[in-house]
Structures are given as structure tokens and as C-alpha cells.
């Protein structure tokens, strides 16, 4: 039985640009997924807590503040510490090319820059979601 994919769309860091986060949330919804939206300025702890309580399949993080190198690995670590090993972690926003390898190293599956195609993000999500 296939079940609906559940995605946490969240913004960490202090930046307030939610255009991308809102677009991807709507795109996921229009692709038939259930999206828990957290709103702005979440801490890594809040993201972990939401992912845990909502039992999501995907955590999609949007960040444009430049603090990704510090905050994103922290989110992933908190998720892993709670045993949420099978959650797919995606990052979107302004991420310099040079910073991508370390995010992937930390456990981020893919990084999508601004202007990414939402159809591609959805296809990627479908292919890589690990719990079905």
C-alpha cells in the first residue's frame, strides 16, 4: 500500500525570505503530498522536534542567511541522534558551490539553489524517499 508522503518544510536561521519555502510547500501539496509548514526562524532543535512528532518522511530546509554550514549539520545530527535515520533531508536556498560537499557529508541528500525547478525537486523527493 502506498501512502502519502509527508514533508516538513521549514526555515532555519534568521533570514526571512520565505518565497522559496512557500513555493516548494505549495508544489509538494499540488503533487499530492502532505506538508507540515513550520514558519520562519526555527532552531535546529525545533526542526528535530517537529520531524519527530510529525513522523515525516522528508525534511526540506530552506535557508538564505548564510548560516547553513553551522545550522544544517546540526539539524541532521539531532535527527540522527533521535534515531530518525531514514528521513530524507533536502536543503534549498543560497548555498555556494563550495559549501555543498560538507552539507552532503553531514547527511543532506541534495541541495537545490534558488530558481530550482519544483518538478525536479518533487521527482527527486519521490525517488529518494526511503520509507514507503
Amino acid at each position: 500500500m502506498t501512502r502519502t508522503i509527508k514533508v516538513l518544510v521549514t526555515k532555519i536561521g534568521l533570514d526571512s525570505h520565505d518565497r522559496g519555502a512557500k513555493i516548494i510547500a505549495r508544489a509538494y501539496r499540488d503533487a499530492g503530498m502532505e506538508v507540515v509548514y513550520t514558519g520562519l526562524r526555527q532552531t535546529p532543535e525545533q526542526v528535530m522536534q517537529a520531524a519527530l512528532e510529525e513522523d515525516v518522511d522528508v525534511v526540506a530546509i530552506s535557508i538564505l542567511s548564510g548560516a547553513h554550514s553551522i545550522l544544517v549539520p546540526r539539524v541532521v545530527k539531532l535527527l540522527r541522534d533521535e534515531g530518525l535515520d531514514d528521513v530524507l533531508v533536502l536543503v534549498g536556498g543560497v548555498i555556494p558551490e563550495d559549501d555543498i560537499p560538507e552539507l552532503k557529508e553531514a547527511g543532506v541528500k541534495e541541495v537545490f539553489g534558488t530558481g530550482s525547478n519544483t518538478d525536479e525537486i518533487i521527482a527527486f523527493t519521490r525517488q529518494n524517499v526511503r520509507r514507503v
Binding site: A25, Y28, G32, Y37, T38, Q42, A50, E54
Partner: protein, 314 residues
């Protein structure tokens, strides 16, 4: 997934197991039956408070404010918030949680969002089992936020011990909704956003309507809150207590539990039977469909014929 193990985790009060178990009741009917079998003996400890009202009246804000208040009293609090599923895509954006963050991470607070998935009545099909799970996990207070369609979401009465109907100043259209049945479902009426103009008038209007309502044993009261500033929450909790005491004193709590149980079994029966019927009707249905579409038969006759065949068999 081992359902027994999951159930044990729920009973031990582990958030992670609880979260996974709710996913099971949302998606997997077989697992649900097994799971509920394990956990059901551990339920019955929670007091369930339903929160209903039109979109944007502040239900989520109020729920979070109440949750923190109960937490300050040392109670473990669970929150179940239902948001609508898009009828066109089957997807949903669940936004209630936005209003329920900001505080410190709290192990005694569990918040879960559910999509309505086409279920009418303001909740989701899985809501009642999800409530049972949260209950079994040891949460003493459960706050249940309905979709908030603006319609009378009567279903919440079947799951909640106390129902809060939330309104805001400057009713306008909502007067109609109240007349159309909200009055009957509310045990407490909350006028939220009491920082806005026109509170007194709205409170008065509701009071008048309650006075005119047919005489029942319990007269609900109207409470003012400013949920975004945690104002009026203590009074609200007192009023919830008053209703609870009434339920206990008048044996209504028992009756309510019986009513809730009855509704629940009926619901499951209907679901099972209809699934069974539709499943079995398979090819008959296809044929009937053709006949009806080509106007050879009317739908009543067609249905009658399908049923008759089965009963003759039996």
C-alpha cells in the same frame, strides 16, 4: 514493522513510537486493528478538549496557549490539529504548527498535525485512533483542533469531553453559523481576539442566544481571551473544569463515554460493511453502471437487484 513493539513503545510514552503509531493508523488498516488491540486497555486516562471555530479565529493560538497553561500545572499535554486536504490534488499544507512553536523544547508536550483526507465533519478518519494512541501514551490533556470550515463541525462532540466553540468580535456572518447548529455543540464559548473592538457586543449576542436556547441541564458560559497574549486562559481553564465537574456530578461523563463508544463502533461497522459491500459488488456494479448510464435502469432498481441477489444466496 513490528506492531507489538510499537505498541509497547507507545505505552511507555515514547514520542517516537507514538509518532510512528499515528502514521500507522493514518495509512494501514490492518496494522491499526492490531495496534488498537494492544493499546486500548491503556486508554481512558485523557481528558479531551475539542476546539472548533471558523478559519483564522485563533484556534491554534488558543490551543498552544492552553497547552502551555496545562503544562505549567504539570500535566502532560497532547495536541492533535486537523487541516483540510485539497480536494483537487489530495495534498495538504498543515499550518497549525506554526502557531505552536516558539517555546523551549518540552518533553511533556506532543503536537501532531493530521490532514482531513476528504473526511467531512471537521476531523480526519484517523483522528479517533490517534486520540486513543496519545491517550495510551499517558497524555492527560488532549487538545483537538478541528479543520475550521465555518460549518458546524458536529463530529468533535463524539470525541471530545468538552467542546470549545471559538468566535471573534464582530460576528456578522457567524451569527448564522451559530444558529445553524454551533450552539448545540459548544460547552464553552470563547470570544478570542478580545483585544479587538466589539467584544462586548459579541459576548452579549452569544449570551442572548444561549438564554433563548431550549432549556438543558447545563448553561455554557462565554469567556473572553486574547490567545496571542495568553490572556483569559486561566478563566477558560476554570470554565473547562466547571464543565468537567458537571459531567462527573451528573453522570454525564459516563453517558458521554458510552455515547462516544457507541458512535465509534457504529462508525467502524459502517466503514467495514460499506467496504465489504463495495468490494463484493465489483462486477455487478460495473454492469449496473452501464445500464444506468444508458438509461435502461434507474439507480434504485439496480441497487435493489444487486442486494436481492446476495440475500437470496444467503
Amino acid at each position: 514493522m513490528d506492531i507489538k513493539e510499537l505498541a509497547d513503545g507507545v505505552i511507555r510514552g515514547e514520542k517516537r513510537s507514538l509518532a510512528r503509531a499515528i502514521t500507522v493508523v493514518e495509512n494501514n488498516p490492518g496494522g491499526t486493528r492490531e495496534l488498537l488491540g494492544y493499546i486500548y486497555p491503556h486508554t481512558g486516562g485523557a481528558y479531551i478538549i475539542g476546539v472548533t471555530g471558523s478559519p483564522g479565529v485563533g484556534k491554534s493560538t488558543l490551543v498552544y496557549s492552553l497547552a502551555r497553561y496545562y503544562r505549567s500545572l504539570g500535566k502532560k499535554v497532547g495536541v492533535l490539529a486537523v487541516d483540510p486536504t485539497s480536494p483537487f490534488t489530495g495534498g495538504a499544507i498543515l499550518g497549525d504548527r506554526i502557531r505552536m512553536s516558539g517555546g523551549e523544547i518540552d518533553q511533556g508536550l506532543y503536537i501532531r498535525s493530521l490532514a482531513s483526507r476528504g473526511h467531512l465533519g471537521g476531523l480526519s478518519e484517523a483522528a479517533s485512533d490517534a486520540l486513543a494512541l496519545i491517550d495510551a501514551a499517558g497524555y492527560e490533556i488532549i487538545l483537538l483542533e478541528t479543520v475550521g470550515t465555518g460549518q458546524a463541525e458536529v463530529e468533535v462532540m463524539r470525541f471530545a469531553h468538552t467542546v470549545l466553540v471559538t468566535l471573534v468580535p464582530g460576528l456578522g456572518d457567524e451569527i448564522q453559523a451559530i444558529k445553524a447548529g454551533i450552539l448545540e455543540i459548544g460547552d464553552v464559548f470563547v470570544v478570542n481576539k478580545a483585544d479587538r473592538d466589539g467584544v462586548d457586543k459579541t459576548v452579549l449576542e452569544i449570551e442572548m442566544m444561549l438564554d433563548l436556547a431550549p432549556l438543558v441541564s447545563y448553561r455554557p458560559r462565554v469567556i473572553r481571551t486574547v490567545a496571542s497574549k495568553d490572556e483569559g486562559i486561566e478563566e477558560l481553564v476554570k470554565e473547562i473544569e466547571r464543565h468537567k465537574e458537571h459531567l462527573i456530578a451528573s453522570d454525564a461523563l459516563n453517558q458521554k463515554q458510552m455515547y462516544m463508544a457507541e458512535e465509534r463502533v457504529k462508525d467502524i461497522l459502517i466503514r467495514r460493511v460499506s467496504a465489504y459491500v463495495l468490494d463484493r459488488a465489483g462486477t455487478d456494479l460495473d454492469i449496473a453502471m452501464q445500464d444506468i448510464a444508458s438509461r435502461k435502469k434507474d439507480p434504485y432498481t439496480a441497487a435493489e437487484e444487486i442486494l436481492k441477489d446476495w440475500f437470496e444466496e444467503a
